[in-house]
């Protein structure tokens, strides 16, 4: 068939609002207040971002603890292609970041010039947004920690 095929731009969108519960809610409340919270397991280790249940035993976890906004990169990948709805309008590193005092890692972006500036184990610090609403993006990104 020689006729030209039609095509049309389409968008599908779901405006979900998710209720957070007491644990994720407290974590997001902390982010809004500019602090990072984790949750303690029975053996004293800390899960961050916090989960409502022990990742190994499934037991309910209840003791939220305040952590710092610094940590180190456990692993990372370079996101070189800029796409819409990403945290940056430029290439960045997507990293698993273990917050100091925590035993697990959180996924977040690290703002550096290029992959050569990234390394496993490097120290990073959260860059907070000035206007925060209780969302993971209240941390704009992580950036290399400047040691005095």
């Amino acid at each position: 068939m020689a006729d030209e095929l039609l095509s049309a731009p389409m968008t599908i969108e779901y405006p979900f609002t998710r209720t957070t519960g007491p644990v994720i809610g407290a974590f997001l409340t902390g982010l809004r207040e500019g602090v990072v919270l984790g949750i303690k397991r029975a053996d004293g280790s800390v899960v961050c971002p916090p989960t409502e249940y022990d990742p190994e035993t499934g037991d309910a976890l209840t003791e939220m603890v305040e952590l710092t906004d610094t940590g180190h990169v456990m692993s990372w990948t370079w996101s070189g292609e800029v796409r819409e709805h990403q945290p940056f309008d430029r290439p960045y590193a997507l990293a698993l970041i273990q917050i100091d005092g925590a035993d697990t890692a959180m996924l977040h972006g690290v703002d550096v010039d290029g992959p050569e500036a990234m390394s496993t184990g490097m120290r990073v610090k959260a860059r907070w947004r000035s206007e925060r609403e209780g969302h993971i993006r209240d941390i704009a990104c992580f950036e290399p920690e400047v040691t005095p």
Binding site: S7, T17, R18, T29, E33, M64
Partner: protein
């Protein structure tokens, strides 16, 4: 929340006195390009001329509308397209009493129906207007309400709704064939 459902969570002092976050917005959005393929392209182009096309099954002769390039029952490629009528009858319908997000123009209660155009072997979905929802019935004859000619596009939205013709209903034993 009762203690046997979820134990009390203790929080550090830093957030003890502040308003707790209870929900988070997590919208999901996908932008993409839709290419309808040869059969649906022909169908949409015909729509611009106020014509409805169906795809003929080479094995059974059944006419599927809209044509999707393959017959739904025999699974054969449908090369031949035929025009079906812009009138037909209601095979089944549903009265909706809750508003549909994004379609504020639809005031509940409204009726969505499975309409089978004459000349087609199956139906497709359409809105029924020009009638109270409780008067709607299976077998009722309806005709397409086309948009004004100057607003016609290559789109199924050219038929915003169907309305009753007032003719006698299709006999019950012929509603589904």
């Amino acid at each position: 929340m009762s203690a046997d459902v979820a134990p009390e969570v203790s929080v550090p002092d830093v957030i003890a006195g502040v308003e707790p976050v209870q929900s988070v917005r997590t919208p999901i959005r996908l932008d993409y390009t839709y290419v309808p393929g040869r059969s649906l392209t022909a169908y949409l182009k015909a729509m611009k001329d106020k014509r409805i096309l169906g795809g003929v099954c080479p094995e059974t002769g059944q006419v599927a509308v809209p044509p999707r390039g393959v017959s739904p029952l025999a699974g054969k490629v449908t090369e031949e397209l035929v025009e079906v009528a812009d009138h037909g009858h209601i095979m089944s319908f549903c009265v909706t009493h809750i508003p549909l997000p994004g379609r504020e123009d639809l005031k509940p209660p409204f009726v969505a129906a499975w309409v089978r155009p004459e000349g087609a072997s199956i139906g497709f979905i359409g809105l029924i207007t020009g009638i109270e929802p409780d008067e709607c019935r299976i077998g009722m004859r309806v005709r397409a309400v086309w948009k004004p000619d100057e607003e016609l596009e290559e789109s199924a939205e050219n038929i915003p709704s169907w309305e009753p013709t007032g003719e006698p209903d299709v006999p019950e034993n012929e509603v589904r064939v």
